[in-house]
């Protein structure tokens, strides 16, 4: 197991290296000049040249890339003009635009995205698994039929449609919920929850439909397995069978999918952030991409890439732990 995890983690490192190279390459092909953007709207060529050298952009690409790599391992010192700013070991550089360490920027933005992602995840797991379970327990009834169509419709509703719909309904017409703004959890937990409810719900609707379908199908599948037949043959009740024997096996693919969805989650969270104006990493990324803020973009891609890859490892390990029949190789 340990060897397996170590091997997979090494694979993640390779993946991250490739990702960062791709981002560097992409940015050197992209139009626009980061130095000019950092310099301000009416800079003269001489100033731009100075800023370029200040940002290290006058060095060859491979040197910049090497500088970036060494920063991750050893950290870097940057001149502030009057002194030095130390950027600690997993240093992803300073933002071209605001001279802030990228790690700080990401750490500042993470709570909003994490709140959004975690909130949505809890919602979709609860709603998804709950309705999946319900439709299995009420097999063949009206409940199942209704749930089936609702979830099918749910999977066909992208975030920006459900988002607008929810906004129109709850904020504009009914005025039940506040127009979402991010309130840090540490400031006011209650407001945090109320404000995030809508964006999380918008994100979760799409996903929960998917999870309801998966839970249902994999529950039905485990219910058809031989070991369930054993307990049926010993007089166990349906509830006990589903709850104690089928659900656990059925959840393994749900766990795996949850981790796999971590990646698409970022894409959707980005949309939700753009739609509701939440200060998360998605917004940071969109803005950094538009202003060619290379360190920020590389940093974010590395962090999200690592998160996605590690989530996949966690999924595989959890899956193997949940289902001893699967061997980790």
């Amino acid at each position: 197991m340990t060897a397996y995890v170590v091997r997979r983690l090494l694979g993640v490192l390779a993946v991250l290296l490739v990702l960062s190279v791709v981002v560097y390459a992409t940015f050197y092909l992209a139009p626009g000049d980061p130095a000019r953007l950092a310099c301000g709207p009416k800079c003269d060529p001489e100033q731009i040249r100075q800023v370029r050298s200040q940002l290290g952009l006058d060095q060859p690409v491979y040197a910049q890339y090497w500088h970036f790599l060494t920063g991750i391992v050893t950290g870097h010192d940057y001149s502030t003009g009057t002194g030095v700013r130390h950027c600690d070991a997993p240093c992803l550089g300073l933002s071209f635009q605001s001279d802030q360490p990228v790690t700080d920027l990401i750490v500042q933005r993470l709570p909003a995205t994490a709140s959004l992602a975690a909130g949505a995840m809890v919602l979709w797991l609860v709603i998804g698994i709950g309705s999946g379970l319900l439709s299995v327990l009420r097999r063949g009834g009206v409940t199942e039929r209704v749930l089936t169509w609702i979830t099918l419709a749910g999977t066909a509703t992208p975030v920006f449609i459900s988002g607008i719909g929810l906004l129109m309904l709850f904020c504009a017409y009914l005025e039940w919920l506040p127009f979402p703004t991010y309130v840090p959890l540490t400031d006011d937990p209650e407001q945090w929850a109320w404000n995030l409810l809508l964006p999380c719900l918008a994100l979760a609707l799409l996903e929960s439909a998917k999870y309801a379908r998966l839970t249902r199908s994999s529950l039905l599948e485990t219910l058809a397995e031989d070991h369930v037949r054993t307990f049926r043959a010993y007089g166990a009740s349906e509830r006990a069978i589903v709850g104690r024997h089928a659900l656990r096996g059925a959840l393994a693919p749900v766990i795996a999918l949850t981790a796999a969805d971590f990646g698409s989650m970022f894409g959707n969270a980005m949309l939700a952030e753009a739609m509701f104006g939440l200060p998360g990493v998605g917004q940071l990324l969109v803005h950094a991409t538009q202003t060619i803020d290379l360190p920020v973009v590389v940093g974010l891609v590395m962090v999200t890439g690592a998160a996605v890859a590690i989530a996949n490892i966690v999924a595989d390990v959890l899956y193997a732990v949940a289902d001893r029949r699967v061997a980790l190789r």
């Binding site: 993640v12 791709v22 992409t26 089936t148 419709a153 795996a256 796999a260 753009a274 991409t289 190789r329």
Partner: protein, 328 residues
């Protein structure tokens, strides 16, 4: 209609699924009313999209002409009249600000949205199948390299790279094609994983060993023995990916990196419409509805095809990645 979503409950794996003749699949498909309805809706959409100029002529409008008189300039350009300016000339009203005809723009939007979704899916399938097969059939090194490549692609946030790549590509490049290429080139990881896992499963089956014993080359084995077996899961998964790609296009256009005006696409229409949800609800509802109906129809159809071909949840297949060799 409940059987629409009945999931295969037998323990048999996809690969070992009974060889159901194409005719049998057809029969099972036709028996489902929902699938039939979905197919009819999609067919209608395709006809509408292809014949957009015809319908435009029928209405007597075109997608780009401005009608300044039909919008109230002092009130931000909201359409004059009730329900977004619906009238005998403008069947679904006009666009705020410009007065362009919404009906025709929706039809032209269908062309772009459908074309991008289909194109991107085809590209994803081609790349996914090629990479997945190569990983399954190649030696350990090829497998590991391709495996990591797939991991990279899966870890790559599509929207991020879409933003970057669309900025790099020369301006002359046609946008819809660009979107097809971007989505197709980035989001094939899941398909490759599916194909690899499936192919490895098939490779463990004795009929592939038998083919090897008959002296067939690797290429022949891939073509004769593997591809037919992969068709069912690949087609099914493609049906799931297609609406996803339509939404990707819409999401990218929504974030301003997709289709650019004046070319209408549903996603891009929706993105400019969002702020109007109070002042001119119809403007928001129309593209949203089109997008929803199409995605819904594709989902229903894909789901039914999946049930008819008797595959299992595609996601399950990524778990417990088998290695080569395998026991008999």
């Amino acid at each position: 209609m409940t059987e629409l979503l009945t999931v295969p409950t037998g323990p048999e794996a996809v690969a070992a699924a009974p060889a159901s003749g194409t005719r049998q699949v057809w029969r099972r498909l036709r028996a489902r009313k929902a699938a039939l309805a979905a197919a009819v809706v999609l067919g209608l959409l395709v006809v509408l999209a292809l014949a957009a100029p015809l319908f435009a002529a029928l209405e007597g409008q075109d997608p780009t002409t401005y009608h300044d008189a039909l919008v109230d300039s002092a009130r931000g350009g909201v359409p004059v009249g009730s329900f977004g300016g619906i009238s005998a000339e403008h069947w679904l009203g006009v666009e705020p600000g410009t007065g362009r005809d919404l009906f025709v723009r929706l039809l032209y939007g269908a062309r772009v949205s459908l074309a991008v979704a289909v194109g991107a899916t085809v590209l994803q399938v081609l790349i996914g199948v090629a990479v997945g097969l190569a990983a399954a059939l190649g030696n350990r090194i090829a497998d590991s390299v391709l495996g990591h490549l797939t991991d990279v692609m899966v870890a790559m946030p599509l929207l991020v790279f879409a933003i970057a790549v669309t900025a790099v590509v020369p301006e002359g490049f046609p946008r819809p094609l660009l979107l097809v290429v971007v989505i197709g080139l980035i989001a094939w990881g899941a398909m490759a994983r599916l194909v690899r896992a499936q192919a490895l499963g098939l490779l463990n089956l004795d009929y592939v060993s038998a083919a090897r014993l008959s002296g067939a080359s690797t290429w022949r084995i891939a073509r004769r023995e593997l591809l037919p077996g992969l068709a069912a899961p690949v087609i099914t998964y493609a049906a799931v990916m297609l609406p996803q790609n339509m939404l990707n296009e819409a999401a990218m256009s929504f974030l301003g990196v997709g289709i650019k005006p004046p070319t209408p696409s549903w996603g891009q229409m929706l993105s400019s419409a969002t702020t109007w949800f109070r002042a001119d609800p119809l403007y928001v509802v129309l593209p949203a509805l089109m997008l929803f109906v199409t995605t819904f129809a594709f989902t229903v159809l894909g789901d039914t095809v999946r049930a008819a071909l008797d595959p299992r949840e595609a996601s399950r297949l990524r778990v417990g990645r088998q290695r080569k060799g395998g026991s008999s």
